[in-house]
Symmetry: C2
Subunit: 467 residues, 2 copies
């Protein structure tokens, strides 16, 4: 939809960058890790999303003349502004594939670039990946609640303005079938969906005329909103009339939609009345403050709903509304780096790394990912990242490497993945994950470990720094 340029960044990236530049150490090689610390929604997993968008933007991430002018006015050095005028990202990115399952603490994406480039792109990386991962994860939970029903994203009106665009993309990856957002549908190739609002019906003298006009124009894609005046005494009988009129002309009413009232009770009443009229093919759609918990409860009550429209709670990622992803320096100027913290769980992991998913000989997930230094072999022992007394040994396991090159020399490394492929991959990976990690209450905790070598590197660094 929009051109995101290089001033899409936090100001401190540029104040730091100027120091690197004027001190001539801006071309020092660095490695930064993108990872998050806490799963949103008390979920047992997250779905990685946003990668292809990030790569698209990074391939052409430049400052415009207006932006450079603005920076000049902020007092930046002429030589630095000059450097920025030629700025582009030339680095390498390794990443988990978009749509894969990701878990706290372990690197999801790794940027290997000159420190000035890696720093200037930080905000973009966080801004794009945090949000889409949040929403893909939320969408996937809603999908878990309604595995076989149609899910449509209705959230545009309540999203963070243009953030809606990316919410719709991430929702599709996470398991939604369609969106109401025309712009996102156009650009991303997401199926688009929507029929009528209350205002349409209110603009007519009576509901039946409104339904009839709509059915005439959209005879094969007719979903009638039946709660404008009185769901069971007006909306439904009128919809049944229209259904019969459509039948007489060789068409079929697609669905009715409920947008208020007790969705469980009303959907069952509607289903019964539709069936009695021989309209069992007419589907029932529902919307109104839905989320995974409400949908699960509706399913538990055997509500007769075939299509769920989910808005606000999806696109804002309610109740968390943000993923706490961070971007931390792991390597600079030839040396591994960490950040200490009084809270040990907030310490970072040094060095360029690899992450492996541990599988048994049948290639089944064992519920653990292990973080290692990039070139390690002989990985058998896995340590708790923060509790040094805990470790596990894996025998005759398969290690699936998760971080793969996705950008090299500032260019996309492999062919761009279609959204459909990413969505299918997300479903496939989630399908592999045992049930206990997917339940909504207290899901089983997926294990994240670090290799012995990596642990030792960190502990040595920690001791040096404490001195």
């Amino acid at each position: 939809m929009q051109k995101i340029t290089a001033s899409y960044t936090d100001f401190y990236q540029l104040t730091m960058a100027q120091v690197y530049f004027l001190n001539q150490n801006h071309e020092d090689q660095s490695v930064f890790d993108y990872f998050f610390r806490k799963l949103p929604f008390h979920s047992g997993y997250a779905i990685f999303s946003g990668l292809e968008v990030l790569i698209d933007i990074l391939e052409d991430f430049k400052f415009t003349p207006e932006e450079l002018q603005f920076l000049e006015k902020q007092g930046f050095h002429k030589d630095f502004i000059n450097y920025l005028s030629d700025f582009q990202f030339n680095g390498e990115i390794k990443s988990v594939q978009e749509g894969d399952l990701i878990f706290p603490t372990r690197p999801v994406l790794q940027v290997k670039a000159t420190i000035i480039e890696a720093q200037i792109i930080e905000t973009l990386v966080l801004n794009i990946l945090n949000f889409q991962t949040l929403i893909a994860t939320k969408a996937s939970r809603i999908r878990l609640a309604a595995p076989h029903d149609t899910l449509i994203d209705f959230g545009m009106r309540r999203a963070q303005a243009t953030g809606a665009y990316y919410a719709s993309r991430a929702a599709y990856i996470g398991g939604f079938d369609a969106t109401s957002n025309v712009k996102a549908a156009t650009d991303f190739g997401i199926p688009v969906s929507g029929t009528m609002a209350h205002a349409f019906i209110q603009s007519y003298e009576n509901e039946l005329d409104a339904f009839r006009d709509f059915a005439e124009v959209h005879p094969d894609n007719c979903v009638l909103l039946i709660d404008t005046y009185d769901t069971l005494r007006s909306g439904l009988p009128n919809a049944i009339k229209i259904a019969k009129e459509l039948e007489a002309k060789g068409h079929k009413l697609k669905a009715i939609r409920l947008d208020s009232g007790d969705l469980s009770y009303l959907s069952k009443r509607c289903r019964k009345m539709l069936d009695q009229e021989g309209l069992s093919y007419v589907k029932i759609a529902a919307s109104n403050q839905l989320d995974e918990h409400v949908i699960k409860s509706l399913k538990d009550q055997n509500a007769s709903i075939d299509v769920y429209g989910v808005g606000t709670n999806l696109v804002i990622g309610n109740p968390d509304a943000a993923l706490d992803g961070v971007y931390k320096l792991a390597f600079a100027d030839g040396k591994p780096r960490i950040k200490l913290s009084e809270n040990v769980a907030k310490s970072t992991l040094p060095s360029e790394k690899q992450v492996y998913r541990i599988r048994n000989q049948k290639n089944e997930m064992l519920g653990a990912d292990i973080i290692t230094q990039v070139d390690e072999t002989n990985i058998e022992k896995m340590h708790h990242p923060f509790d040094l007394t805990k470790s596990t040994t894996y025998h005759s396991h398969i290690l699936e490497p998760l971080l793969k090159t996705v950008m090299k020399d500032g260019k996309r490394y492999e062919k761009k993945k279609s959204l459909a492929k990413i969505k299918a991959y997300a479903a496939e990976r989630l399908n592999e994950l045992p049930e206990e990690y997917k339940r909504f209450s207290n899901p089983h905790i997926y294990k994240i470990g670090v290799s012995t070598e990596l642990l030792e590197t960190r502990e040595k660094l920690r001791e040096t720094l404490k001195k």
Copy 2:
């Protein structure tokens, strides 16, 4: 930053629009109200924001050829696509001024246009106004918690992708002083702010060298982040060293920044040590999961903080994360319209309307806005909008009309207001609001009433519709 085109809409706007168009009633005049039902954050008021952005977009809200092509593929009628290719908004908008106080139930903005135009712009109106109003309100609450300190928006990395852009704008209107978001600063003219991240310090062999290099490049705008290794034993002493080195060269260290640990305790310890070293001019900045409640608590503890950096909780509008603004038909084809609801508080108000703020003869706010039909005179009685037994009479009051023409024939009606002016207006209007509406716990409820005429119109319509 971006061109928002007419496909920035929900798909159902177009399926409805096609029906209006093919039935040739698309040019019926209509009036739609934008309003919200529930104040966010348990706040006693909201700050209206987003208007000038909305007008900018609406002045040039057109479908691109690619978008029309996409719609053609969705099966829309050729004549309708043809209509859309010439689509533009030609209507009139009346609105509360951006930055004004707004309250539930009463119209904030009113669109008067052909029904097809009013419908196609609905999603845009909601998407732009809901979010910015949410964030301006959140920002204003944070400002209330720290009336005299510097507030900086740090939220870009945790926002809904490009939504960050509008969050920064709204935060400024609501009372923030600056943003870290370079793009928003460039385009909107917001003061920009930021200095260094932990990564900068980690990339050096030791903290002091990092500080020194930074101070050399930014001698007059040097804020040192002191919690990378050990706040009191390393960060602060090193910052003090740098402050003295800067002094020797005729400069002054601007501030130190705390980003972890107990901000109350640490800020007081830092203040004391700085003062003992004759560095009382060095300010203390703090960040880390701040919001109005944390800041209020820090102030209550006499924390020594001069600058607050607020990120996530600001830009996501935590905990609500969405404003429930809606856009409802009030008038169509020459007649007033309402939507009934089993929940009476969800019924809408018919007709083109005006809203007045009631003031006494000294021109002070009386804590009430009254909604009337647009051309009413003789407004003395104010009824509760939903409880018909309640009414109040106002004598010798002043009625300040709040809805003013901001677009006419699809064009901006008056000169565009600068962001600085909007911000000043927001502060001025909030300043007028008595304290009891601004407290964080159970604020006094601002009264919203409807005139006798408007009430009678609604009740008549309700009876007709019930038949």
